[in-house]
């Protein structure tokens, strides 16, 4: 029983990481209709800056909870790159999707080089920050407290995004713009400003996610491209453009992967992509996606 619970928790942790990457991807696609391959780069940027911020905060002797606050604020501050990048993206809004993919993929590669220039080839870690949060005794077993914290934050982000999109005026405007941009503009919505805000919010989800997860992981040059691939499995399963879909897709991928690792490690990727194919065949728009009319 304890082993089963630990395996489920491991799967949920992975799901939390995937959700934080996929949520930004979903938000941007939902409103701007751009498949943003650079979302992995934003996650990696948050991780690199978060790792540096942690080193600084530990160096000046801040207590552990404050170190974490500094790390998350550093991740949030990275979102300043959102508006200028969105300005570049405007050049491809009305062009073929392949240009959009190419441009966002170019961002991904450029960021990878910037990480190398800024931090070198060595992976960046936060040292023992992860361990300073201790372990959580859940009765049946002990687990790293930070892993549970990451899962809790991912759930909070999912709930917060849901509330923001459903219950706030700005969220309603966002959804209206996503449904029908021309109509929204006709009733006075500034779609251009909306796009900039949405893209920046998508960047922030990625950068804060990266900063949040780096204490339990490491910032490395490969992480951007690595996560994008799995994030796409998540959005295909959940449905492109749906935040609920991102959550459901992430949980499915996380748990299926955890089960595969335990029962037949060789099938780790096979199990995930078998589900992706099944969804594409049985429900092409994904579990929470809207069928094209």
């Amino acid at each position: 029983m304890a082993a089963f619970a630990e395996i489920v928790l491991g799967g949920l942790f992975h799901a939390a990481v995937l959700f934080l990457v996929a949520a930004g991807l979903q938000l941007v696609f939902g409103v701007q209709k751009i498949v943003n391959l650079a979302c992995g780069a934003f996650y990696a940027l948050g991780a690199y800056v978060g790792a540096s911020a942690a080193k600084w905060a530990i160096g000046v002797g801040l207590p552990t909870p404050l170190v974490l606050v500094v790390v998350l604020l550093a991740g949030l501050a990275c979102a300043v790159i959102g508006p200028p990048l969105e300005r570049v993206l405007r050049t491809v809004y009305d062009r073929d999707e392949s240009f959009q993919l190419l441009l966002t993929f170019a961002f991904l590669l450029m960021f990878q080089d910037l990480f190398r220039i800024g931090w070198g080839a060595n992976p960046q870690t936060t040292g023992s920050l992860f361990l300073s949060f201790g372990t959580l005794d859940l009765g049946l077993f002990k687990t790293p407290a930070y892993n549970v914290f990451v899962i809790a934050v991912a759930i909070t982000v999912a709930a917060g995004l849901g509330w923001f999109l459903q219950r706030t005026n700005f969220g309603r405007l966002l959804r209206a713009t996503a449904e029908n941009r021309a109509m929204a503009e006709a009733v006075g919505v500034n779609a251009r400003a909306m796009f900039s805000v949405v893209f920046t919010l998508g960047v922030a989800l990625g950068t804060v996610g990266g900063a949040l997860v780096v204490p339990a992981s490491a910032a490395s040059l490969d992480m951007a491209a690595e996560l994008v691939v799995e994030a796409f499995a998540v959005v295909v399963i959940g449905g492109l453009g749906s935040i609920s879909g991102a959550l459901a897709g992430a949980v499915i991928v996380g748990l299926v992967r955890a089960a595969a690792i335990v029962f037949y490690a060789e099938a780790e990727l096979l199990a995930i992509y078998a589900i992706v194919i099944a969804v594409l065949i049985l429900r092409p728009a994904g579990l929470f996606g809207k069928e094209a009319v």
């Binding site: 942790f13 023992s128 002990k142 930070y146 690595e226 996380g254 955890a258 690792i261 490690a265």
Partner: protein, 430 residues
């Protein structure tokens, strides 16, 4: 810096000047100054990004230090060395860059290459190009089978399984009788799979009964390992064997420590040295079997050469070198030694064939981590270092409390042998 090649019509005054320079050059360095007029161009292929970027960086630093040092001492047989560095990426691109080094940059020889996947594809190209190439860490093995057994121009590193064979022997030496159930977590490519298979084969060879309770194959570069840790914990192994060596290793160790996996299982990590400074005491246990491959920076009785290098590395880069620096140094030092030996034997600048024949003759060099040489089949023999970890040091990461050294002539199959059959009959030092 590109070399300056002056071409033009020689005037009488130039000839007289040149003769003077020859005399001065011979007096100072023992080599004719005519050779000093042109630098030796050595092409370097090294990864700068991706999972092997750290290794590439370490290797390049070792290589640059070697060149700086030998240039100060007059170069190789009197010729200064100039490096032309290209990036090692995937096999196809690296082959293109190799061709560029040979055809466009007209380098005298090539060194580098960390990935066996790249080396395997590059090996036949090297042979076709007839350009002497010494690989740092790449082999031309497909799995454990040598695919270029009759190579002439391509000199390869030691077989990839050396560290696994050594770690298996030392696991038996240190942990025999303390384990029954074993689990493996190894990178999902031929290196990880062969190492795990070698470990089990050596246990069998020594008649040690074991039961495999988990086999994990994380993808290379995967940084999220909680599910792997949970699966290993559920399997409750007495001993974990892992060839993780990239940035995922410290992440794994941190998660394993937090899940108390490091308390309950013996740990055998033959390739951990690539991440040695990232494996902090806070989460890396003592008495873990830890492989440093061919360079352990903290050797208690280092050679003057190793001490000089480590001091320079620490002073310059505020970091501690690992084995890739040694592999790069070994490649450069082997070339230098072979050229100078052939030069001496010939009484003039040797041809590439002279240098290759000298390398194949088994000429010994002192590398950073210990002595090394090349076999007749162009495979390197080097000195390997592994031992048990300790926290009793001035660093924030683990060093070794006890360590063993073995030369690879007892750790890798002889030329032409089948690896698995060799394990069944080899004379091991443990």
């Amino acid at each position: 810096m590109k070399g300056q090649h002056t071409r033009g019509v020689l005037r009488r005054r130039d000839v007289i000047k040149g003769a003077g320079a020859v005399a001065a050059g011979v007096a100072v360095t023992g080599f004719p100054a005519i050779a000093q007029n042109t630098s030796l161009k050595i092409g370097i292929l090294t990864p700068k990004g991706g999972i092997a970027a750290t290794a590439g960086e370490n290797g390049l630093r070792g290589c640059q230090w070697a060149v700086e040092r030998l240039n100060k001492a007059g170069g190789i047989a009197g010729r200064k060395v100039e490096l032309v560095v290209e990036e090692e990426t995937n096999a196809q691109q690296t082959i293109e860059r190799f061709n560029k080094l040979v055809l466009q940059d007209k380098v005298d020889m090539v060194q580098g290459v960390v990935s066996t996947g790249v080396a395997l594809a590059l090996g036949p190209v090297v042979e076709d190009s007839k350009k002497l190439t010494i690989m740092w860490d790449g082999t031309t093995q497909d799995g454990v089978t040598e695919k270029l057994p009759d190579a002439r121009y391509c000199f390869k590193s030691t077989d990839n399984e050396c560290e696994a064979v050594m770690a298996s022997l030392l696991a038996i030496k240190h942990f025999k009788g303390k384990f029954k159930t074993i689990a493996g977590i190894n990178p999902d490519y031929s290196y990880g799979r062969n190492n795990w298979a070698a470990f089990k084969a050596i246990l069998k060879r020594y008649g040690i009964e074991y039961e495999v309770v988990a086999e994990q194959w994380p993808k290379v570069g995967n940084m999220e390992v909680t599910s792997f840790v949970a699966a290993l914990k559920a399997a409750k192994p007495d001993l974990i064997f892992s060839s993780l060596l990239f940035a995922d290793l410290p992440v794994f160790m941190q998660q394993a420590h937090a899940a108390e996996l490091t308390k309950s299982s013996l740990m055998v990590f033959p390739a951990a040295g690539w991440q040695h400074t990232s494996l902090k005491k806070a989460f890396t246990p003592e008495n873990m079997l830890f492989g440093h491959n061919t360079l352990y920076f903290g050797h208690p009785n280092p050679t003057p050469l190793q001490k000089e290098f480590v001091d320079w590395y620490v002073g310059t880069h505020k970091d501690y070198p690992h084995w890739e620096a040694d592999r790069a140094y070994f490649a450069m030092e082997s070339y230098k030694t072979a050229v100078e030996a052939a030069h001496k034997a010939k009484g003039g600048w040797p041809s590439q064939d002279d240098v290759i024949d000298t390398l194949k003759s088994g000429i010994k060099v002192q590398s950073l981590g210990g002595p090394g040489w090349f076999r007749k089949d162009n495979i390197a023999e080097q000195t390997f270092i592994q031992g048990l970890t300790t926290h009793k040091n001035a660093y924030d990461f683990c060093t070794l409390s006890t360590f063993d050294t073995m030369t690879s002539d007892v750790l890798q199959k002889p030329a032409g042998a089948d690896f698995w059959k060799w394990i069944e009959t080899a004379k091991f030092p443990v």
